[in-house]
């Protein structure tokens, strides 16, 4: 058993998919968030499996440690009862599920078609098993402005780097920070403002 990859994939991927489905069908919002947490953790292990250690770790750090905590805070701050649920009617469920199955069929068909059509080309250029070391270093250099561009023989001038997007994202995050703090700051309710 020289290659564990497919076995690990078939172990992780169905679990991740099941957690995603559970996220959708759970009515209680905190349970739904918990299932989302499992989905995110599964996705991050998929990233580790694909050799993208850095992306997987960032997924854990940002999503699980940051975003999910925010979501739970949001639930706690907006809950009227102890464990809130909001019901969705049967007709809505039926329509959504049919639409979902159709969407999944389309996407699956597209994926199969793509894989089939590019099978020959993929066979000859499947890259060697990427070492995480190379990946993280390359990503870091790319974000800091060292040209890392696509390793395409047809495009020899490797001049693509990601300094500008990186800076834009940083500024964007700053804006988000200020904006979110501004929006979420404590305000008196409308009635209270009107009362005096």
């Amino acid at each position: 058993m020289d290659d564990l990859h497919p076995y690990m994939f078939w172990l992780i991927a169905p679990l991740t998919g099941l957690c995603a489905i559970a996220t959708v069908i759970t009515q209680n919002i905190v349970r739904s968030a918990t299932w989302l947490l499992f989905t995110l953790a599964g996705t991050s292990s998929i990233f580790f499996l694909l050799g993208a250690d850095l992306v997987g770790a960032i997924q854990l750090l940002v999503y699980v440690g940051g975003t999910m905590v925010l979501v739970i805070f949001g639930v706690m701050l907006t809950a009227q009862g102890p464990f809130i649920t909001m019901k969705t009617s049967g007709a809505e469920w039926a329509i959504s599920i049919v639409a979902g199955i159709m969407l999944f069929a389309v996407l699956g068909f597209g994926a199969t078609h793509y894989v089939r059509s590019s099978a020959e080309r993929a066979k000859e250029t499947v890259p060697e098993n990427p070492k995480d070391s190379r990946n993280s270093t390359t990503i870091g250099q790319g974000l800091l402005g060292v040209p890392v561009g696509p390793s395409d023989p047809k495009m020899p001038s490797q001049t693509i780097h990601y300094l500008l997007p990186f800076e834009i994202v940083s500024v964007h995050l700053l804006v988000v920070l200020i904006g979110a703090a501004y929006l979420a700051r404590t305000k008196r309710r409308k009635e209270e403002e009107a009362a005096p």
Binding site: M1, V30, T34, A57, G65, I72, D132, S136
Partner: protein, 417 residues
């Protein structure tokens, strides 16, 4: 005859190895929790001028935790009626998994690591940050206001303290140029190469990191999440039996994990202080081959565990010495002081390595090393002198009997006539 065995080993050996490694790690977490709980009780006892556990297991009560653990295993496992069953059950395990995954990337010795990773440090910080979600679920799912308060405090605190902690731990990374914990540890083979002595910024970063680590492990004086005097037991008020055990395994596990990071990034990992690679020394210099390398690594692991547990001991020492802060003080300390300090340290160390010429860097490093060694020696001397004095002398302002000579305290109470 053994053909099928070797075939099976070739095919499934990797699974067996993975199983052994994960069991070893789980076992280590369990033993770590058992040992730490015993140490905690002993330290607490000694600091409060009592004995702590003394009976179970003969000397020093060293089997006390095992007995407690067995008691916890057979205890009734209650789930409150108001609790959300699913969240209540799943919360402790999320916390445990977060703590356990940190050990996957933590090297205990030269190559003694479950998964060697290039970004091991980052990975450890990431998985330890996911522990907080388990705590929130524990607090929320219990359906009790004490738990909810504890959970919310805990999450606010952990999420905030992650930032200065990560920034501080980046300071030695700037110096070492690697996030691979094994590589960083190997760089610091001799004691004057330890990254804590490299420059003033790494020296300060160690103390800042350790403060943040204590806070993110919810240890006193930052244990607002389980403030017994206000919140009964905080987020784990409703837990009992095995699940409670799991929560504590996670807590002591992450205590050791942050101490392990501190050891490797600042205190030389498994270095014994002299520039000798023990595995190479026993393996090649003495000529014992593989057996020698194993011996070398056993010593490495022992040294590393000792250092880690010394830091854990310091955490306990602090816990039983300092009073608890208020929640607003805890948050203010992080947001107003620790984050700016750690930012300054990070920028400072970057400029230091860029601008200060190498000879000056080396002189200053030697200076820091000499001063720290002097301070340590002075501290040890103080401890020895104080230990030799009769009780009640030596420490100014200490409580003592008013009748004894040398009493400086409040005037003796007049006897009512």
């Amino acid at each position: 005859m053994l053909d099928w065995l070797s075939d099976a080993w070739r095919d499934y050996g990797i699974f067996a190895l993975a199983l052994i490694a994960s069991n070893a790690l789980i076992g280590f977490m369990l033993i770590n929790a058992i040992f730490s709980v015993w140490l905690e009780r002993k330290v607490a006892g000694r600091i409060q001028d009592r004995l702590g556990p003394t009976r179970v297991g003969g000397k020093f009560g060293w089997l006390q935790t095992l007995a407690d653990g067995m008691k916890l295993l057979v205890k009734e496992d209650t789930i409150p009626a108001a609790a959300d069953q699913f969240l209540f059950r799943v919360g402790p395990y999320i916390a445990l998994v977060g703590s356990f995954l940190a050990f996957v990337a933590l090297p205990f010795g030269d190559g003694v690591v479950a998964r060697e990773m290039n970004i091991a440090l980052f990975f450890m910080l990431a998985v330890m940050s996911s522990e907080v979600f388990g705590i929130i679920l524990i607090g929320y799912g219990s359906g009790s206001k004490w738990s909810l308060f504890g959970g919310i405090r805990e999450s606010a605190q952990m999420v905030s303290y992650e930032i200065p902690m990560a920034l501080c731990v980046l300071v030695p990374v700037v110096v070492a140029g690697s996030m691979n914990l094994g590589e960083v540890a190997k760089m610091q083979s001799s004691i004057w190469n330890w990254l804590i002595f490299h420059d003033p910024f790494t020296f300060c970063a160690f103390w800042t990191y350790f403060t943040c680590a204590m806070a993110s492990c919810k240890r006193a004086p930052f244990d607002l999440a389980e403030a017994e005097s206000e919140l009964v037991a905080g987020f784990h008020t409703e837990y009992s039996g095995f699940r409670w055990l799991v929560i504590f395994m996670a807590e002591y596990g992450s205590m050791f994990a942050v101490s392990g990071i501190a050891c490797i990034m600042f205190l030389g990992g498994w270095s014994i202080g002299v520039p000798v690679e023990l595995t190479t020394f026993f393996g090649e210099t003495i000529g014992l081959g593989t057996f020698g390398m194993v011996i070398g690594n056993v010593i490495n692991v022992t040294v590393f565990l000792t250092k880690g547990w010394i830091l854990v001991f310091v955490m306990m020492w602090v816990r039983w010495t300092l009073p608890r802060l208020r929640i607003d003080q805890v948050m203010m300390m992080c947001l107003k002081y620790l984050i700016p300090i750690s930012c300054v340290l990070l920028v400072g160390v970057a400029l230091w390595t860029l601008w200060i010429p190498a000879p000056i860097q080396r002189y200053i490093a030697w200076g820091i090393f000499a001063v720290s060694m002097g301070a340590t020696a002075w501290l040890v001397m103080q401890m020895i002198t104080l230990a030799k004095l009769p009780p009640g002398t030596g420490m100014p302002g200490m409580w003592r009997l008013a009748d004894e000579p040398g009493y400086h305290g409040a005037p003796k109470a007049e006897k009512p006539a």
